[in-house]
């Protein structure tokens, strides 16, 4: 098979000094499905965006059909025959399918009026040509997510694209819809299109692709034929070591209840019920993992616990102290909080590292202030920052440097240090390893387990099942604002929790476990 795209020595640096692509060289062949796999932040999406002209590259060459190309924007890439379908659906909901598809290249009739009949006919012809089973006259808002994704693909096919880039297309689909998408992608491949497929689901990748490129930390590790590899090999290449699917916990009997919520419900500004009758307890020395597809109420739960939102019904208490309607400062005496988004909730990136470490402490710990809390003791807060630096192994230039000058892993260490040294009985950790590299993830896990051995009660929200199974004692599953399962780790497995996350109920035959 002939090579259609060659990417040579691609380098991409995000300011100030994050190397997203580190000398990546790879090639794609005409008429293949080529998967690009890697962990979050490995550079898969960036590589594709560079190819597609969405991100300028800092160095390297791209050859398309034997010609050097340099697309300045996606429009040029599409005109040349390379198109990308993004994770989010970018369609106009109020328009019909054909209106969405011809948008931007409408067939013009008399005096530039839109030739509706012809546009509609053209689109239906394309739909039939690729056997997409859609009706061009349907409104986009009335069709399923899977159908919307097909419309996105059609938009590109209508523009005669030869190379289709799909960014994690299965992330928005239900398990039943995935095989159908794959059948369609295979049909496209057989008609001569090249499909580049970004994913981190290894099973999917092995199922659909002809070749697989593995990326790790901005580097290309290998390109292999799908028929000559397996899941374990791919995982090892992705992570850079053998992946332990084993638990890292030591046996430990949990103590008394520390954190409890009872019948907690939350209704948002649009009168939608976002949380419904949640009951949950976390004991001291216990890690409870919250699993769920993003957007099933995790954010609302965090906001209710932290006091950013007021629940409609229910109670929350830590160590028997009622906190349901408490001031945030009062809650912080009992709750340490690591947010999923460091720059939005976890820190002020413009402020100095010291300014970031003393937050909350400046109100709760009298050592940080003089004059009854009015005057700050900067000397002490610098000493405290130094303590975090030592204890959590942060590498920082100067503690007066802005927080944003730290790398992601070091930022998270500083935040963990600040929160854990609050010495509260309960820890709320919302995706504490999101966007971190493998080494930092392992470190964060170690710290969490250490807190468990110090008898703290820990609620860990994570989108990563592997993480949950690695360190939790118990897993609760959230689905559409409800807790649909509360399972001890020994009595469940990834398949069962995965199914619960998607369906909200148990598969009949999954109940008998391993």
């Amino acid at each position: 098979m002939e090579t259609i795209i060659e990417m040579k020595d691609i380098v991409k640096v995000f300011p100030p000094n994050v190397v997203a692509l580190d000398d990546v060289t790879t090639d794609f062949r005409k008429g293949e499905i080529h998967a690009i796999v890697g962990e979050n932040g490995a550079g898969k999406s960036t590589l594709m965006k560079v190819l597609y002209g969405l991100e300028p590259r800092n160095d390297g060459k791209i050859l398309y059909r034997g010609q050097f190309v340099h697309f300045k924007d996606p429009g040029e890439a599409i005109a040349a025959g390379i198109g990308m379908v993004h994770q989010e659906i970018l369609l106009i909901q109020e328009y019909t399918i054909w209106q969405n598809i011809v948008l931007g290249i409408e067939p013009a009739g008399f005096l530039g009026t839109l030739n509706q009949a012809q546009a509609q006919r053209n689109v239906q012809a394309k739909i039939d040509e690729f056997k997409f089973n859609l009706n061009a006259d349907d409104l986009v808002k009335d069709i399923s997510v899977a159908a919307k994704q097909k419309v996105e693909i059609l938009k590109l096919l209508y523009r005669n694209v030869e190379v289709l880039i799909l960014d994690e297309p299965t992330a928005v689909l239900t398990p039943q819809e995935i095989p159908q998408l794959f059948t369609e992608l295979k049909r496209l491949r057989d008609s001569g299109k090249t499909i580049l497929f970004i994913s981190h689901h290894l099973d999917e990748v092995l199922d659909i692709s002809d070749r697989i490129t593995v990326m790790r930390k901005g580097k290309k590790i290998a390109t292999v034929d799908a028929s000559e590899t397996n899941k374990e090999d791919l995982a090892r290449m992705m992570v850079g070591r053998d992946v332990l699917f084993l638990s890292a916990r030591e046996e430990k009997r949990p103590g008394p209840v520390v954190f409890s919520i009872e019948n907690l419900s939350y209704i948002d500004g649009n009168q939608h019920k976002r949380l419904e009758g949640l009951n949950l307890q976390v004991h001291s020395g216990e890690i409870v993992g919250v699993a769920g597809v993003e957007g099933n109420g995790q954010l609302e739960l965090v906001n209710c616990i932290m006091g950013l939102s007021q629940p409609a019904t229910g109670h929350m208490a830590v160590n028997g102290k009622e906190l349901t309607r408490a001031e945030i400062l009062e809650r912080r005496k009992f709750i340490s909080f690591v947010s999923q988004d460091r720059s939005k909730m976890g820190a002020s990136v413009k402020a100095s590292i010291t300014d970031n470490t003393m937050m909350t402490h400046h109100r709760l710990n009298p050592r940080f202030t003089h004059w009854k809390g009015f005057l700050l003791d900067y000397k002490y807060s610098r000493q405290f920052t130094h303590e975090i630096e030592e204890q959590f192994g942060v590498s920082m230039g100067s503690m007066d440097a802005p927080f944003k000058s730290l790398s992601g892993g070091n930022q998270q260490k500083v935040i963990l240090g600040r929160e854990l040294l609050l010495d509260t009985p309960f820890l709320l950790l919302d995706q504490p390893t999101r966007g971190l590299d493998v080494g930092s993830i392992e470190y964060v896990h170690e710290v969490i387990l250490k807190m468990r051995s110090q008898d703290r009660a820990i609620l860990l929200i994570s989108a990563d099942l592997e993480e949950l199974f690695r360190i939790s004692d118990r897993i609760v599953v959230m689905h559409r604002g409800k807790i649909v399962a509360d399972l001890p780790i020994e009595k469940t497995n990834v398949e069962q929790v995965g199914y619960l996350m998607l369906e909200g109920k148990d598969k009949e035959d999954a109940k008998e476990v391993r």
Partner: protein, 345 residues
Amino acid sequence: MRKKFVSGILGILVALFIGAVVMLVQGYDPIATYGALFSYSLGGLYPLSTTLRNSVPLILTGLSASIAFASGPVNLGQPGQFLIGALFATVGGLYIHLPAVLEIPVLILLALIGGALWSGVAAMMRKWFSMDEFITTLMLNIIADFFTYWAISYPFFDQTAYSPMTPQIDKAGWLPEFGNFNTNVIVMVIAFVVVWFIFSRMTAGYEWRLTGQNSIFARLGGCNIDKNYVTVMLLTGALAGLAGGLIVMAGPHRFIKDLGANYAWNGVMIAMVANNGLVGTVLYGLFFSSLQSGALGMELITAVPSEFISVLQAVIVLVIVAGRGLLDIWLDRSLVKRKARERAI
């Protein structure tokens, strides 16, 4: 800090150069013009003292805007707060008669209260009716403008005058002068030291700064954002009010029509140029004051009209604000290039 200093000096030099080009195009001699400008603002004791004295309202309204913007509230009500503060001090000076050691502090206090009252109205409107201070402070400026105009035309009108103005305040309320040095500068320095200390060393200032940078983080961290908002509004209003009061006490010693001129808007502009830094606000305030003080001398000696200074000010603002962004982009780009080169080898 050093980077800011360098970019500020560079910006001013570039702006002066652009100004020189404008003058050349119009057929004026730039060197003679700048010479006149700076000799009438900095060359000698008398020009220097004029520059210092005129810098006080600029710096105080500038500090008001800097602290507000850096802490979150978009208080654009300095002109109104300035006028109400001036009116409070004037009325106090008309009816309160004390020895100078007491009269001056009382009038200063009244000016602070007047300004705080006016910004407090905006703060309450936000608290009770969730009205954005960005709008309400601007509206209150207009109300203050006409309210003070009415006040000096009717209830406090000087019957012997031909245009709207109040009588002179009690002589005890006049700020003493030493030679040509007016003590309004001393009041300004004290005000600066106090707000700098609050902003940089006290718990409240820490919370204001962090709230201004990322309010959700500060809120989750346990800061009482609502209370801080009200405090910042009151403090920044008081600073603008103080500027107004000092104008009356140092200058005409009465409230005359158009007393506020453009001081407060210039203050807001200075805050923007200084990127809401307190020390920067003082330095830029002195510099802008020297331009304005030198303008008259420049007009006297050369044919360049004093309006040219408005052009120069605008150019300086644009060059410095744009330059700040540009410098960051350049630094980022050169870092990226270096990194990319390392990787490519």
